[in-house]
């Protein structure tokens, strides 16, 4: 296979992975990394809530992808394989944190918060506060629900794809999703009203509600 370098960009993930498996093609692997680095980093970020940890886990995920390239089934999608590796790493990381009794996701990690890009600094502050609340609420959600929620809502995977990654029926994914939304709402509401109470100047209606 002496295709020119430019053709790397037109390769499907599966073709690139085949090159990696059969020929240890480093360039094909770099191309896969380029395509999947950001989604995997975002997944790890949502699963762990920590940017630094997410970066480390992403690196580790690609290291494992290369190490376990022989385990890849040519019939399956590369993305499924990559997501699965990354998720397992996130689970391992959570377990390790729990064992060490370290502060986990639910810790107040101001430095690594992710937020929306917004216009004015005031809006930015409020938005980032709300984002932080969501992040903390998400962290309190049991892992099986958080996984489904992150994959569907943030990574925009179809329920079918999530079912393939987790190797569970599609119906189970959907019921986990509804449970995830219900539980998250239950966690989120008290946190949001607490935040409104702490910010009486943020708006008329909210101000009234907070004072009641």
């Amino acid at each position: 296979m002496n295709l020119p370098f430019a053709s790397l960009f037109t390769l499907t993930d599966e073709q690139a992975m085949a090159r990696v498996c059969q020929e240890d093609d480093v360039e094909a692997f770099a191309e896969l990394m380029k395509r999947w680095q950001t989604p995997i980093r975002n997944l790890c970020l949502r699963m762990t809530g920590d940017l630094q940890r997410a970066e480390d886990l992403t690196q580790e995920a690609f290291t494992r992808l290369y190490q376990y390239r022989k385990n890849y089934q040519p019939r399956g999608k590369v993305s499924t394989f990559v997501w699965r590796i990354a998720l397992n790493l996130c689970y391992d990381e959570q377990r390790r944190i729990k064992r060490r009794g370290e502060s986990s996701l639910d810790a107040e990690q101001g430095d690594n918060i992710v937020m929306l890009e917004s216009a004015s600094p005031a809006e930015q502050t409020e938005e980032s506060e709300r984002a932080e609340i969501v992040r903390r609420a998400l962290a309190k959600l049991p892992e099986i629900y958080r996984t489904v929620l992150v994959l569907r809502h943030y990574e925009d995977l179809k329920f079918r794809e999530i079912a393939d990654i987790l190797e569970i029926p599609e119906g189970t994914v959907k019921s986990r999703m509804s449970e995830a939304l219900t539980q998250l709402n239950r966690i989120l509401q008290p946190m949001l009203s607490e935040s409104r109470a702490e910010r009486p100047s943020s708006g008329g209606n909210e101000n009234e509600r907070a004072s009641l």
Binding site: F29, L51, Q59, T63, A131, K174
Partner: protein
Amino acid sequence: MKPTREDWMAYLYGELPPEEHARLGDYLETHPECAAEVEGWRATMKELDRLKAPTPRRRVIVPVEFVKWGIAAMFVLGVGLLIGRATAPAVDVATLRAEVEAAVRKDVANTLRGELQTIAAAQVQGAREEARQRVAQLEQSMKDARAEDQESVAAMMQQLERRNAADYASLRKDLETVAVTAESKLYLAQQQIGQLAGYTQTSNVRRQ
């Protein structure tokens, strides 16, 4: 038929075929208790959106150019690191081949260099030996030549001496001859002077 929670998830995330989606939408209008539950989920989804599009905080502070270069550098570094990390533990044929090739090349180069050095040393030694011999030969030939020269010079000197002696002898002979001739001529002159004087005396007597 009452939609299940699973159906509502597919509805909320737009995974239903259009007609099914429309049917569920209609259902909500006639079933407020269901609509309330779905609205609750929708509200939670909106809250989740606040965490969408993650951007590290530092991006807001640092000028875009630096971020661009920083990201580029980090990506390059990351790729390098990852490839390095990925290739290290796994037996990577290409890398291994490259390493072995490098090692073999180095080894061969070292051996060659060693041999070359030996050969060069031998050649230098040989050349030095030859040079020494040549010098010795030259010296010898020079010595011989000098001896020859000396001999010839000596011969020439002897010849010269002999010639000089001969010259001296002939000169002496000549001188002796000259001397003898001079002496005899002197004697002759004395005789003539005596004769002349005798003539003069007789003529003077006659006058008187």
